[in-house]
């Protein structure tokens, strides 16, 4: 049987949905599940997928050859994951045709759903300040942490735009945070440099990677789980090294 045009469309649809979800920080299990559900709805061949953080291999059994797509850039945008998830739900409920869904996914891929930078910066600063209080610091260190956290986050975003290497951006951001915290303490504005640093570093912590690594390992996606774990470990080391360099200066 010669595969019809529709078969290819379904395959592209599955791959695009999977790609968007994987690029923006969904768990491997969710990516595979979404692709299998969409393929299952159209009932063309048995879907097989192999998903790792850097690529997706997908085939519809015995109908069309397998297709591979490479994931080069990964970031954290849970809004897109949610949106792609609801589009796939609409497909399996029969509310969208494959063409409409594909168009919507393409639009979603191009859209920039992230909060404006100012709001992100504000969020990072406020949460840095709040973490100081949560980790038993005094209220007099709230403002210094607000400053350091904001500075660190700005540094991270801009350096990451400049240099593609994420670990370097994290390293430098942590370094700047440490430097700022010790300077503030030297000027008498901050009281406990330790608490300020811990609070300010928290927005950089690879929380999504850690949770995803655990969930992936648990659902049997060993390759993805281990590589995400390695990513989280490297990020944590980059932050730690940045702070360590500051220690060795002071």
């Amino acid at each position: 049987m010669e595969p019809g045009k529709e078969t290819y469309e379904v395959m592209e649809l599955c791959l695009l949905a999977g790609k968007i979800m994987l690029q923006n920080g969904a768990e491997t299990y969710r990516v595979e599940d979404t692709m299998e559900r969409i393929a299952g709805y159209y009932n063309i061949g048995r879907p097989h997928s192999y998903v790792t953080p850097t690529g997706i291999i997908f085939s519809l059994d015995g109908v069309v050859p397998a297709k591979l797509i490479r994931i080069a850039n990964r970031n954290t945008d849970l809004h897109k994951v949610t949106a792609a998830n609801s589009i796939s739900r609409k497909i399996t409920n029969g509310e969208l045709t494959s063409k409409e869904a594909y168009k919507q996914l393409q639009e979603l891929e191009k859209q920039d759903l992230s909060y404006p930078f100012v709001i992100q910066l504000l969020a990072a600063s406020i949460s840095s300040g709040c973490f100081v209080i949560m980790f038993m610091g005094g209220w007099h260190d709230f403002l210094p942490a607000l400053l350091c956290g904001g500075l660190g986050f700005t540094c991270f975003v801009y350096i990451h735009k400049l240099v593609e290497v994420k670990f370097f951006a994290e390293f430098l951001a942590a370094f700047v945070i440490g430097l700022a915290a010790f300077s503030l303490k030297a000027w008498g504005a901050g009281h406990e440099a330790d608490k300020i640093i811990i609070g300010s570093v928290m927005p950089l912590v690879p929380g999504l990677l850690i949770t995803n690594a655990v969930r992936d390992l648990m659902s049997g996606h060993l390759v993805s789980g281990l590589s995400k774990g390695a990513d989280a470990f490297l990020t944590a080391s980059a932050i730690g090294t940045g702070i360590a360099v500051v220690f060795s200066i002071f």
Binding site: I126, W139, M202, M218
Partner: protein, 143 residues
């Protein structure tokens, strides 16, 4: 204590914004973080071991996230990821790093081991809640 509750709410919601969680989920996200931190602090102040406190807190965070995920038809990670952040042993890792730089390896290794145990506790907490969730699903399917 009230200060802890308020700050934990804003801290987790703030982390949520950095992860670009949709607006309508941000408040729930903050609530998950607040409850998780409240449980941790209460256990910690009642002289529970930090590892156990982290485990129980992570367990409840995961349970709440699963509840919200079902209610709002959104992926679970949206709710759980920000709530877990306060439990990450950032402070412990920091002091470990500091001792390493000061060449105090004995102390540093102890702290690093503790930080490792705490991260493990978060993982076990998530796993336990997942297992519970799946068991409930199975029992509901064939009683």
């Amino acid at each position: 204590m009230i200060g802890q509750l308020i700050t934990s709410f804003f801290a987790t919601a703030g982390i949520g914004i950095i992860f670009n969680i949709p607006k309508k989920a941000l408040v729930n996200c903050g609530i998950v973080g607040m409850v998780g931190w409240f449980i941790y602090v209460v256990l910690f102040e009642n002289h529970f071991d930090p590892v156990i406190a982290t485990l129980i807190s992570a367990f409840f965070i995961a349970i709440m996230s699963q509840y919200y995920a079902k209610k709002y038809k959104m992926p679970v990670i949206i709710f759980s990821v920000a709530g877990m952040i306060p439990l990450v042993p950032g402070g412990m890792a920091y002091y470990a790093m500091r001792k390493f730089v000061e060449n105090d390896y004995n102390e540093a290794l102890q702290l690093a081991a503790k930080a490792f145990m705490l991260s493990g506790a978060i993982a076990v907490g998530i796993i336990l809640s997942e297992v519970l969730n799946q068991t409930i699903k199975k029992i509901n399917k064939n009683p």
